[in-house]
């Protein structure tokens, strides 16, 4: 997709007044937050598992080269093929080559963010191979020519009426007067239409949630079963996965699985967790004749050993965006990049460079909810702050913000002056706050007040309020001492 990360502010402004989108975004909070909390609460060991999941991935990242070698050895021993891709372009070329060798006309796809990252669909289509997305959400947005707005709920920005419109537009072979008013009828229709596509496809492409070094296994975690049909019914199964998906053993996979579904959808386990090892064997009545894994680097090796290394622990559960107030307000498309939300704000600058993506690490209130729910304990706000520092160092921050920061720094470095200015400013602002105690518009703060009010200060500065609070705390002590 075209990267428009640096149009975040403009994209966000549009998103805030998009009534359809705002209605759909209500489902994010409704659909994810309570369910995750309930699932986490029901497992007393949840936080201990998070610690262990973090430690497992840290161990993997410290030995990534060696685990990759072991993984490759095991895949090859099981009759599979491992292809290494340094860049997105390399990965596209490798996948196309495999498809062409299989004389593929259509390929089915399981849901995969990595194939979004390498823009695989466009590349296949440009070379005469039709890619068919089979995950319901991915299928819907493919019909619309859109990209996922969420990493696990790609069509979360849409309402059912929009989906109905798309199905009527595309599925013209079906009766015009059919009833599609309920989500279940939309689901049934997609099921029927896609059933035929699995059997017609020559190649099935999936991503991977894990690559297990011990056994040379790729793992997909899904609820619909489309990924399994994709990889079982095609003659060739291609797995596209990035290098940090490695885990050492089956036991390590179990540890992370216990936090993955709970953090993502609030399920104890997703419906289908599938372990695939090599192609069809002699005694097998089904399964693909060929099994390929494309291992993608695309900038990840350069993140190792830097302040962004922790990001490589990410298991793409989506909890960070499900709990992000910015994501709730503007949705995933506003980020203008493959990966939206807090994890995208950290990962995208690593993959695409801070020059093109500087607005993303700024698209955060630093409320810290993303870090507090991250199953892999990734310090997302800290890393966004690192990116902001990089941006500032490289003079990429807009002039107004730079001058603003400089003006603030001038006062911040002179505490007496700061307090003096504040002790004049706060009562003044309080006075202008009037009876409503809110500002509907403020000079120099239009970006804030256009979409919400600014509460008027109550008149005292923070330091004054703090001093008074401390004094009150001392009061009872003094009384006690006196008695």
């Amino acid at each position: 997709m075209e990267l428009t990360a640096n149009k975040f502010k403009a994209n966000a402004s549009k998103a805030l007044v998009d009534a359809q989108l705002q209605k759909a975004l209500g489902n994010v909070q409704k659909g994810f937050i309570g369910k995750r909390q309930k699932a986490a609460d029901a497992l007393p060991e949840f936080d201990e598992l998070r610690d262990n999941a973090r430690d497992i991935k840290n161990h993997v990242l410290a030995h990534l080269d060696l685990y990759l070698e072991e993984y490759e050895r095991k895949v090859t021993a099981a009759g599979g093929h491992v292809h290494w891709a340094e860049t997105a372009e390399d990965a596209r070329r490798i996948v196309l080559d495999i498809c062409q060798k299989a004389n593929a006309r259509t390929v089915t796809k399981g849901k995969s963010m990595i194939t979004e990252e390498i823009a695989l669909n466009d590349h296949l289509a440009a070379n005469g191979i039709e890619p068919v997305e089979t995950d319901l959400g991915e299928y819907i947005i493919q019909l619309r020519g859109e990209h996922p707005s969420h990493i696990i709920a790609p069509a979360v920005h849409l309402n059912k009426e929009q989906v109905e419109g798309d199905f009527r537009r595309v599925h013209t072979h079906l009766a015009k007067d059919r009833d599609l008013s309920e989500p279940v009828s939309l689901l049934s229709e997609a099921r029927e239409v896609l059933r035929q596509r699995y059997f017609a496809a020559d190649v099935g492409i999936t991503g991977a949630n894990f690559l297990i070094a011990e056994t040379g296994t790729s793992v997909i975690v899904t609820n619909e079963g489309n990924g399994d049909l994709t990889q079982t019914l095609g003659k060739v199964h291609v797995v596209v996965a990035s290098i940090e998906k490695i885990v050492p053993t089956l036991e390590d996979t179990s540890q992370i699985l216990r936090v993955l579904a709970r953090s993502a959808t609030g399920q104890d386990m997703s419906v289908y967790t599938t372990f695939s090892t090599g192609p069809k064997r002699e005694e097998d009545p089904d399964g693909p004749d060929e099994y390929h894994v494309v291992l993608l680097d695309n900038g990840r090796s350069a993140m190792l050993g830097t302040e962004y290394q922790d990001m490589l622990r990410c298991i793409r559960c989506g909890a960070c965006m499900n709990h992000c107030p910015v994501y709730h307000a503007v949705g995933g498309h506003a980020y203008g990049s493959v990966y939206p939300g807090p994890m995208g704000a950290v990962l995208t600058p690593s993959l695409n460079g801070i020059d093109e993506t500087g607005q993303l690490p700024n698209a955060s209130t630093f409320c810290g909810r993303c870090e507090s729910v991250c199953p892999m304990r990734i310090p997302l706000p800290k890393m966004m702050r690192h990116w902001r520092e990089r941006e500032f160092e490289r003079n990429l921050t807009p002039a107004v913000a730079r001058y603003g920061l400089k003006a603030w720094a001038f006062f911040a470095k002179r505490p007496k002056l700061y307090r003096l200015a504040a002790s004049f400013g706060m009562p003044l602002l309080s006075l202008f706050g009037g009876t409503s105690r809110r500002f509907h518009s403020l000079p120099l703060a239009g970006g804030w007040t256009r979409h919400r009010d600014l509460p008027a200060p109550e008149g005292r500065t923070f330091l004054q309020a703090w001093a008074q609070r401390e004094a009150l705390k001392q009061e009872p002590l003094k009384q006690e001492a006196g008695q």
Partner: protein, 223 residues
């Protein structure tokens, strides 16, 4: 330099490690050999009877239906009853699993049994699970002639037979079973962990059953 060597050397350069580092190699080899288990939820640590009950309760919680029968001889009748109760034709697809074959299907004279992999035309399929995981009510199914993978996904109704003694408390016990059966580091081509029937929440985050896989999952536990 090959793409493989480029990626590996980039990783080593970023981590500032040499490519021949015996200490790191030893650490990796030891971890792969010892397969440490980590944190096992307390709810999985139950005596055997408790594990079977927990499995049944969890499987039902996640949308499966459940029947407990006394022995394999009771399986064909249970399958027939299930099909009748759902108004399904008396036809099933089944693999070559010996435990299923020996169940004595001749008692169900009207039941048509098709063997081998599913071609997509089956409404109901019967599989035998390798194990059950009590912790989450999850079935573990291994691919092969005995239980073709396509039966797990193509039929609308998936009926899975499971021996009560194969129900384990946690996922880790199933890995131990696999290693015992196939040797360390060896896996069936496809190994499916199944928890409930297929579902999707992709339209307005409303959970609907029967997305691409089976609309219904029926588990028959053989005591």
């Amino acid at each position: 330099m090959s793409a493989r060597d480029t990626v590996l050397s980039k990783i080593r350069a970023s981590m500032r490690v040499p490519d021949s580092d015996d200490v790191r190699r030893k650490t990796v080899a030891e971890r792969l050999e010892s397969t440490p288990t980590g944190v096992i939820p307390a709810r999985a640590k139950l005596p055997k009877a408790g594990q079977v009950d927990l499995f049944c309760a969890m499987a039902e919680q996640f949308g499966a239906t459940l029947a407990r029968v006394s022995d394999y001889k009771a399986v064909p009748a249970e399958v027939a009853t299930y099909l009748r109760s759902r108004n399904l034709p008396a036809e099933i697809r089944m693999g070559a699993d010996k435990r299923l074959k020996k169940a004595g299907w001749e008692t169900e004279k009207n039941l048509e049994i098709r063997h081998g992999a599913s071609d997509g035309g089956d409404l109901s399929g019967v599989s035998h699970a390798m194990a059950g995981i009590a912790e989450t009510g999850t079935l573990a199914l291994a691919s092969g002639q005995d239980n073709p993978t396509t039966i797990n996904f193509l039929p609308e109704h998936h009926i899975v037979v499971l021996k009560a003694s194969d129900i384990k408390g946690d996922m880790e016990s199933v890995w131990a079973m696999l290693r015992k059966a196939r040797g360390k580091g060896e896996m069936p081509r496809a190994f499916n962990l199944v928890t409930g029937p297929s579902r999707s929440g992709d339209i307005e985050q409303t959970i609907l059953l029967g997305a691409h896989g089976p609309r219904a999952l029926h588990v028959i536990v053989v005591e």
